[in-house]
Symmetry: C2
Subunit: 507 residues, 2 copies
């Protein structure tokens, strides 16, 4: 008999949805093999067909908007406006990739025509384009049941790149996952393509991670989650006969620095805004400001006093699952007992997997006594560090890699050295703002430095697609044997770089 | 007293050049720290200054052309025209990066202006550009004493990206390395920059590899050499507190397939051309055709007969060093004793590190009996596989990843399935040609699939620069606090993508 598991509503700790059947090894490997067997259907689809597929997927998900939001709300206890917005983010980001793909933005053709006078030796005809890697394994995140889950950013960018996808569904929202899966499959079939191009694997068995990461047909991994699992995936990849890229986004502290100038006029307002960002979504964002650095002066003290007053009245929604809630209570409980730490508590949420928002305040000189202060604690907590302003650079230099770093300063303040250090630290640097909210756009970068992410690539925004392609150059091919995007006539009518000139002209 | 070592002239096995002092750990670590301390000089140089530096380096090397070629000739026994050409390739590829950098091609600015109506939520001002990684360690190759050595492709692309470089010089050509080092340093100083931006480490101590790969200031590794050392570097990187990208190009078999149609009219001519490619540079190219697949029919037999006749008269220059020569003789000697292999020998070169060109012929059905046939054997050898034409696809599918794969076929022959398989296998696919000779140009791709290379990136051509940069996005920054390439006025006058439109206009 098959093993099963059931999701729980974090607001009630009661079962929600259907009993979910746990996948076994043979099922997982068969799904991967089946995806590999049909990969040419996607790899060889022309830009307009692939864009049509992506748009069909977006439409199919949008058509299920209410159902999806309802189910995600029950499985995550995230508020309805949040999950409804997240359905739309999911849909919009798939459409953004459709728009990119339709213009051939995934193909990047670079053509250097044969040149007998090229130095130091004659050049053959060289035509480079990007090709999809093959089947991609995506590990869904708990905290974005839609936008970083079954049909989230990793899946959208992999499909857009032309790669079949096998998603490890997150066991905290298996019913939402199943609904999204069905929406995607219905769209794939509406386009006359094989449903084997996409699969989800359900289960709580940790071996599933091994099966996926070690299957020879898997060519890349997209992951959002803990450093522990991210590092395991990298290790598993390195042990393969053919190692593969692991795009792991593993959490981040997202330091926010406030100069005395920034606080001098609006310490109160900024303190509230910082706490709103830290407690948003019950602090369950990879972009949560987990470290806030204020000057050890009267401005900083004013900020902290306001935090104390404001947080005392804050209550947040329950956490995503029992494990997250108990790890949160354990780690904040342990920290709260440390010597020299000031603890600011909010209102306890006694329902389901509810917890108490807990903010810590510590002097920079004491941070060394609390090793785990500079680690990510998932949930409604943040650490405020009081540091002399002239030590801000030292604080920044002591930090490990981050997804984001933010600085509040006066517009004409000379903070170039600190800004420079923050760009060394993080993939996104924010001026007078907070790290939560991540636009899905061409200029976005969500990925940074180790240990926040395993590579320098982005998992959000259009450039995410380039994680799942690889360059191939065709040398001296007859026109009829070339992929269409490289043929003289430019049958797709897409932008290409020919002998250094960008344009859509035929050759 | 310091340890020393001496280079040997492969043509005579006699010492050449000066006694070279072996670097110790403190020297290596100091050079890395010194490079890190001045990295801002390069990272913050504007496009025209960085291009000027690259051009100065190219000029300085070109000014030493005769000296360098003479010394490289003595240390490698490669013919004078080859090493003279290689000096020019080295110079030309540095200038190509200068041209790219001058246009700002390393910066890739993508700007999405704030948009309150952006969906699903308002978009802040997001401005992305590429930033250099930091100090790069380059491991020089033995077989390109200039173009893949001290100031070769990896160094040129890393400097162009804005990264200081510490090169592990190859102990087979330490005097050439020293001359190139001096030329580079003189150019750096002529531009008013610190000579600490560039260093070479000399030595034969295998610990040097560990010191370089594990130094915390090293942010990326460029490597060309054996799979053994490449895999060691990847392992050392994974063991670091902060793992770093290892761009390792580790050799390749570069299969060349001939269809019956291709051979039907010119088997003789193609057999000679294939052997010329295999024996070029004494077979010491990573792009040497190490596997040649001919049909098991009369066309294939004619090809083999011609190989036999042609190779019998071929003598090649000595190999690069004693180790390479003895490994070549050992492995070909061992293979020659295998059952069922036909051995075709050329003329022995009895001088110095000379060897005998040795070509093997084997039926596809027997390849499984000789595991090491499908491994790279550096030097003047190649394996000709006789396979029924209808099994070519099977042969291709049995191969590991390659830098290149070539197919000789009729222009209208239906070989799309085989071509498709070759693009899965290799980073460069060649029609009716041979893999040796690699143009340094925008469309080039030199890198492929594991185990030929560790990543999908290229180590030759302009795109090599993007291995050494990482994206950083600036959110809502005041104009005066942004890097120049992202400021409204576009002070560098470079191409940028603003709200999806490419151009040089100011905002």
């Amino acid at each position: 008999m098959s093993k099963t598991f059931t999701a729980q509503n974090p607001a009630t700790a009661q079962a929600v949805g259907q009993e979910i059947i746990e996948w076994d090894q043979a099922q997982v490997l068969n799904a991967i093999k089946a995806a590999d067997a049909v990969k040419a259907q996607l790899a060889q689809s022309d830009p307009s067909k692939r864009a049509a597929l992506l748009n069909a997927i977006a439409d199919s998900i949008e058509a299920q908007k209410e159902n999806l939001a309802q189910m995600a709300h029950q499985e995550t206890a995230l508020p309805m406006p949040r999950v409804t917005g997240e359905v739309m983010r999911t849909v919009i980001q798939i459409r953004a990739f459709a728009t990119l793909v339709k213009k051939g933005g995934h193909l990047l053709p670079i053509i250097d025509l044969a040149d007998p006078d090229f130095q130091p030796v004659a050049r053959p005809d060289l035509r480079k384009t990007q090709q999809p890697l093959g089947v991609v394994a995506v590990f869904a995140a708990s905290n974005f049941p839609l936008a970083f889950s079954v049909a989230g950013g990793d899946t959208a960018s992999a499909l857009a790149a032309g790669c079949p996808v096998v998603v490890k569904a997150h066991p905290s929202h298996p019913n939402t996952s199943q609904l999204v899966y069905e929406a995607v499959i219905s769209a794939i079939q509406s386009q006359g393509l094989s449903k084997d191009l996409f699969a989800i694997v359900q289960g709580i068995n940790p071996q599933i991670t091994h099966w996926l990461a070690q299957a020879p047909e898997i060519t890349a991994i997209g992951f959002t989650g803990s450093g522990l699992v991210g590092k395991l995936l990298i290790k598993l990849s390195q042990e393969r006969a053919v190692p593969i890229p692991v795009y792991a986004e593993m959490g981040s502290l997202n330091p926010v620095f406030f100069t005395p100038t920034a606080l001098s006029e609006k310490a109160d307002e900024l303190a509230k805004a910082a706490m709103d960002s830290a407690l948003l979504g019950s602090g369950q964002f990879c972009t949560k400001p987990g470290i806030i650095i204020v000057p050890a002066d009267s401005n900083g003290d004013k900020f902290i006093a306001q935090v104390e007053e404001y947080v005392a009245a804050q209550k947040v929604g329950p956490l995503l699952n029992k494990g997250i809630a108990s790890r949160f209570s354990d780690s904040t409980g342990k920290l709260a007992k440390s010597a020299g730490l000031k603890v600011i508590s909010g209102v306890n949420n006694a329902d389901g997997f509810g917890v108490t928002p807990t903010i810590f305040v510590v002097d920079w000189a004491d941070v060394k006594n609390h090793d785990d202060l500079l680690e990510e604690h998932f949930g409604p907590t943040s650490v405020i560090i009081r540091a002399p302003f002239d030590q801000f650079l030292t604080v920044a230099k002591a930090m490990a890699g981050q997804l984001t770093a933010a600085l509040h300063a006066g517009a004409t303040e000379n903070v170039s050295e600190l800004v420079n250090q923050l760009t060394q630290l993080a993939g996104r640097v924010i001026w007078n703002g907070f790290p939560t909210a991540v636009s899905v756009t061409a200029a976005q970068n969500h990925g940074g430095q180790w240990p926040a992410s395993s590579t320098h690539t982005t998992s959000v925004g259009l450039d995410a697609i380039y994680r799942f392609v690889r360059p191939v150059v065709y040398q001296n091919f007859p026109d009829n044997q070339l992929p269409a995007q490289l043929q003289n006539a430019n049958p797709y009518g897409i932008e290409r770089v020919v002998n250094g000139e960008r344009g859509v002209k035929a050759i």
